[in-house]
Amino acid sequence: MYRYDQFDETLVRERARQFRGQVERRLKGELREEHFKPLRLQNGVYLQLHAYMLRVAIPYGQLNAAKLRQLAKIADKYDKGYAHFTTRQNIQYNWIRLADMPDVLDDLADVEMHAIQTSGNCIRNVTSDHLAGANLDEIEDPRPWCEIIRQWSTFHPEFSSLPRKFKIAVTGAATDRAAVRVHDIGLHMKTNSEGRVGFEFIVGGGLGRTPYVGLTVRAWVAKEELLDYLEANMRVYNRYGRRDNKYKARIKILVNELGLEAYKREVEEEFAAQNAWEKVALAQEEVDRITAYFAPPAFAKLPAVSEGFEAFKATGREQARWAKNNLRPHRVPGYVSVHIAVKQQGEAPGDATSDQMRVMANIGERYGLDDIRVAHEQDVVLPHVKLDDVPAVYGALKAAGLHASNAGMGSDIIACPGLDYCNLSNARSISVANEIQAVFSDPEFEDEVGTLHVNVSGCINACGHHHVGHIGILGVDKKGEEFYQVLFGGRADEKAAIATIQGPGLKHEEVAPAIRRVVDTYLVLRRDQTEKFIDTIGRVGQAPFKEALYAAA
């Protein structure tokens, strides 16, 4: 994991001090809310329905035990004893007093953390593959480049008042677990014909009101040109992105209104015009210094098969199921990556209590080489666990109620906070998510269905990413009543696609039974047990599923 040097440390401390001054001016009435707003927003402080919310950056989703314990302590000390892992690998607190915010930032700085650029119209926290450095199909670890982008984008003087927020994701694996094609800029590490690793540069993806899959502006950008090419894109967007309408201000609208070729021409002209002074001075030694922090940890030499793990799986159906659904293969023999589904029936997806955070910190420290990740599916992941330790990890998770064995399954739902917490929302999300989870309450049924991504958003701003759900649910308000539109066929991986709305919205109580009919239809239509829901839809089309959706008596 990256460690701050004197420069990083100074900057984060100075930011905490600056924000303390800004909060004092606001509390004394010297600063109007109107002018405080962009300042607090650049620091992750939102004014929500009930209170201020603080969003803390977890750069590319990587934590260690010390950081996670500090996050738990902040939840106890300043909030109501819990926090919420987000779909952008961050963590949010919903009940922090404004007067306490500066102290929270100091506490975060103590563990090399901050809330810089977690909101506002700037370059947001960069996200990545939660299995980076562990997965089987990685071309190269993307995290050094995430860290370089984090540093380059932090308080960028020119790109701090963009037309709209700006999200960058980087992945280094063939399988895209970072949803790079639905980001403002997605970077997919690829090897070119000379065998050099660089980045496919994808621009203009995004969800929200107008969903788009991003377009490839350049098939391959060399590492040494990455920051300069990013600057060229950012400048074109800063100068020409629309500012007349908040809902048309994202870069996806610019790319689509100009067309890919015209956008590309603008960027290439801007890039070609950069002189030596304008180029980002990033020495290879600096890249090497940052890369060294992400060197593989000291893995033990282990056999590929663990007797202890095999015995564990044989102890019972519950253990076997958890092992099947929540473990991911690791590139080093004898190791595995563990998904901890922070999705308990009846709770908001992504919510974790401070006790659960401490349990995960302890397990990660003891059994996970002190590497703990937040996945964009709002799960926590331990990327490096010995197969031999899996029984102990499972036991500790179970004792804390964190042993849900639904990772990637129907009940592992991504949902926004919805009408219960959010002042933008039109409809409840969590209660609908809970009712859909109940459809899969029988583990045998859920296993039979297998991989299924369900995403729930409470309004068209799409924080629950319903456009990329295999099944998406969108809450809408019709004359004061909540209705839910259902979408099929979305995916956020390397085959990214935007889901299609099926038709009129369903009432709250109609949603879960309708999803059950859709899933039953899949079980009838699939070619065999290995064909996933999303692939069956791709093969047979959406019509039979739509029919099932509206087939209520």
């Binding site: 040097d5 420069f7 990083d8 100074t10 900057l11 100075e14 930011r15 001090r17 600056q18 800004q22 002018h35 962009p38 300042l39 119209n121 540093q151 380059w152 932090t154 308080f155 960028h156 003087p157 020119e158 790109f159 701090s160 008042s161 963009l162 400048r235 800063n238 100068r239 500012r243 015009a273 950069q274 002189n275 002074w277 304008e278 980002v280 001075a281 990033l282 020495a283 030694e285 600096e286 210094r289």
Partner: protein, 170 residues
Amino acid sequence: MPLLKDGKVVDDIWAFAEDGHELSPGGCIVVSLGRFLSEHDQLLARNRSIGVRLLNSDDPALLASYLDQLHVIEVQFPKYTDGRALSQAQLLRRRLGYKGEIRATGQVLRDQLRLMIRCGIDAMVIAEADAEGVYAASANAFSEFYQSAADTSESIFVKRQKLRQSKAAE
């Protein structure tokens, strides 16, 4: 409203001449980009100092061949959330090599001074009673920067490289 130049309050000797209005001989006159581009020969020939006001949608590259003869370029922040003038300032300084004054007008907020300064804006009209105090506090809120920009401060990337080189030399 006070005008700050390099952090000090100074008298504003510049007057904006609306398009189509007769210009007085001599004096320090700011005109729109459109007027400058159509009348630059006459404007620059007379015995006066000329500045240009850019709308934030204007392309500063149109001034490239006249920059040596310009004393002031005004860039605008119609709303504090609109950062287009930051790109204009960076382009003027770093790409086009403009050495004269870049003056920010409009919604210039103290918390954004640091960003403006880094992009090469060296003068601003600001609605603050203690303009110099506000400038000093904002300009010095941070001592480190990851990016090189139009100001002369060294980026953290450069400082680290120098540290490495001095260590290697020991």
